[in-house]
Amino acid sequence: MTTADSRRIATALARRTGRGGDVRQVADAIVALWRDIERQLTPIIGQRGVAALHGRSLFLTARVHPWLAVAPDRVALAMDLDALRAAVLQQDAAAAMHGCGDLFTSFHDLLSSMVGPALTDRLLRDVWDPPTSGTPAQEPNG
């Protein structure tokens, strides 16, 4: 992970939450970003594949941000975004932004360590830098 990548993720998160947002807006933005990631990656690695990477990055990030220790104990079939949302709502907006910024960074790193930075960038480009704001990250087929 380069500093440029972390900054890019932080920018994406800030763009979604808007200025001076309260923690509810932050939580909505975080869940929306995870949905974009899921939409982008599920076709390629499956729902379980995404859930596995998500669980692993939660586990790793919880070492620094213990409030993120919401990873399920058993193998998950899908991401549990309700649990994440609930945990985020327990924090103030700044702590939530910080913790989840690290969480996305950790996820990006993990994927990058598996398939390399070039392909990771290609797969997640539309999540971090959406082509036009307001449109879905992936265009419908056909």
Binding site: P43, I44, R48, G49, M114, G116, L119, G142
Partner: protein, 489 residues
């Protein structure tokens, strides 16, 4: 309307495969890629996909397992054909693990059909389903379920206007799997194990509408992906033999050309057989040096000495100044087709006129054990293919001196070559001396003399015949008894 439909043939991007296919992959064909785990199925599929996929001809690649899709992307990236830029623009991977959970094959089929309809791809790949189905049913029903599913999928795939591939390790040759009937092409990848060596082989068991090259074709997987060693076509110029007299090439050894009847005929193959240390490699180097002197380029495949520690100074100089190209033949488990491809590529690259294989004995050892049983057949093919290239070939062969029987090669290869020179040791006056003879030059008069020779810094120096000795070929000649009348005089 009598014009037949024109089938476009696609270049697969796999070196040698289009030749084996008989000109490329038919567009809109439905193909099976079968083989054991690790035989290279996924690599073959990816290599073809990256070569053929483009934004105008997009590819869909369906996989079934969850995390292994990540692993696949991870490891396939190690091949140079992998192009990250193509992912999401020309190639889409689609994971079906969610549909396949619980073994609901109807859902899998629906999803595949829906994705294909939505994307309108030019290429479709469906990777193995075995694990899912085996997990969801008992052994007996799993097999029949799988067969049914694969056949249904096959029928579906045939109806799409796309070139399609079904990849799996679940096919066995013995079962008359109905999908074999539906498929237009069947690629079977094998790994042949013998002792410690493993050789990869590809067989095209079926390809509708075109003449493929039959048999097992060896291939290698390197960082560039798969390369298939397609056999060379048969020699086209065999018939021209025996017409106008061929120009002759000098061997570079003073006197030897005369023994050959005026030099070695152009395009001939010469076997130099002799025991260890008799000077075969020296003769070969002299042959190449003589070519270089006349401005001809040469190619050598050496199985004897490592090129950097080549003791033969003549050859080392020729390699240094570029007049002779060395074919690197040190890869393990070689096949004849691979070495032939290396040779032919080198010959064409430098437009070589002279080729040396030093030696056949070393060559045989370099081959994977699985090819050794067919060594003679393979060698015959090699000689024919080199003849087709129009080069003049000198091959050396280690000959164990038995003294009791006169042999020219350990392989019975004598009939394949156009000319033979044999070298032997003899014992005279408590010294080991060397003699050579020209045994054969096809379609040409040649000397029948048995000549003594020595080796000095300049190479081979022919000496005189030894008329006073007899029984030379037995190794222990005796002085001829002097006729009685002469001694009295």
């Amino acid at each position: 309307m009598t014009a037949p439909v024109t089938i476009h043939r696609l270049a697969t991007g796999v070196p040698g495969l289009d030749t084996v296919l008989g000109g490329g992959l038919p567009e809109f064909s439905f193909n099976l890629i079968a083989g054991a785990p690790g035989s290279g199925k996924t690599t073959l599929a990816h290599q073809i996909m990256f070569a053929l996929a483009s934004p105008e001809r997009p590819a869909l690649y369906f996989t079934v397992l969850g995390e292994p899709a990540l692993k696949m992307l991870r490891y396939q990236q190690q091949f140079t054909f992998f192009d990250s830029a193509a992912i999401t623009t020309a190639i889409r991977f689609i994971n079906l693990s969610d549909e396949a959970v619980g073994g609901d094959l109807d859902r899998v089929m629906e999803r595949i059909a829906a994705e294909v309809q939505a994307a309108g791809p030019g290429l479709v790949f469906v990777d193995s389903f075995r694990s899912v189905i085996m997990a969801s049913a008992s052994e007996g029903t799993a097999t029949s379920k799988l067969q049914g599913f694969v056949q249904q999928l096959g029928v579906q795939m045939t109806s799409w206007q796309a070139t399609t591939f079904l990849i799996g390790e679940y096919f066995t040759e013995k079962d008359a799997n109905p999908v074999f009937t539906v498929a237009d092409g069947i690629f079977w990848l094998r790994q042949s194990l013998e002792r410690n060596s493993m050789v990869r082989k590809l067989e095209l068991m079926k390809m509708r509408g075109q003449a493929t090259l039959p048999g097992l074709h060896t291939f290698r997987i390197s960082n560039t992906g798969i390369s298939v060693f397609a056999p060379s076509p048969a020699a086209p110029n065999g018939e021209e033999r025996g017409r106008a007299p061929r120009p002759r090439l000098s061997t570079g050894v003073p006197g030897l050309d005369d023994m050959l009847g005026g030099g070695l005929p152009d395009g001939y193959s010469l076997l130099v057989a002799g025991p260890s240390g008799s000077g075969k490699s020296i003769l070969a180097a002299t042959f190449l040096a003589e070519g270089a002197r006349q401005g001809e380029r040469g190619v050598i495949a050496s199985f004897e000495q490592h090129p950097t520690q080549m003791r033969n100074g003549t050859l080392a100089n020729l390699l240094d100044d570029g007049s002779v190209l060395l074919v690197d033949s040190r890869a393990p488990d070689l096949s004849i087709d691979e070495i032939l491809l290396l040779l032919v590529t080198a010959i064409r690259r430098v437009r070589a006129r002279r080729v040396v294989i030093d030696s056949l004995s070393g060559f045989e050892l370099g081959l994977a054990p699985t090819f050794r049983d067919d060594f003679r057949e393979s060698l015959a093919r090699l000689v024919a293919a080199l003849a087709a290239e129009g080069v003049t070939v000198l091959m050396t062969s280690e000959l164990e001196d038995r003294y009791t029987d006169l042999r020219f090669s350990p392989y019975g290869t004598a009939f394949m070559t156009d000319a033979i020179i044999v070298q032997r040791y003899i014992e005279v006056d408590s010294r080991l001396r060397r003699v050579l003879a020209v045994v054969k030059v096809r379609g040409s008069a040649h000397s029948d003399a048995l000549r003594e020779y020595a080796i000095d810094d300049g190479g081979i120096v022919l000496g005189a015949m030894l008329p006073e000795q007899e029984g030379l070929l037995g190794g222990r000649p005796t002085r001829k008894p002097v006729p009685a009348g002469v001694s009295d005089a």
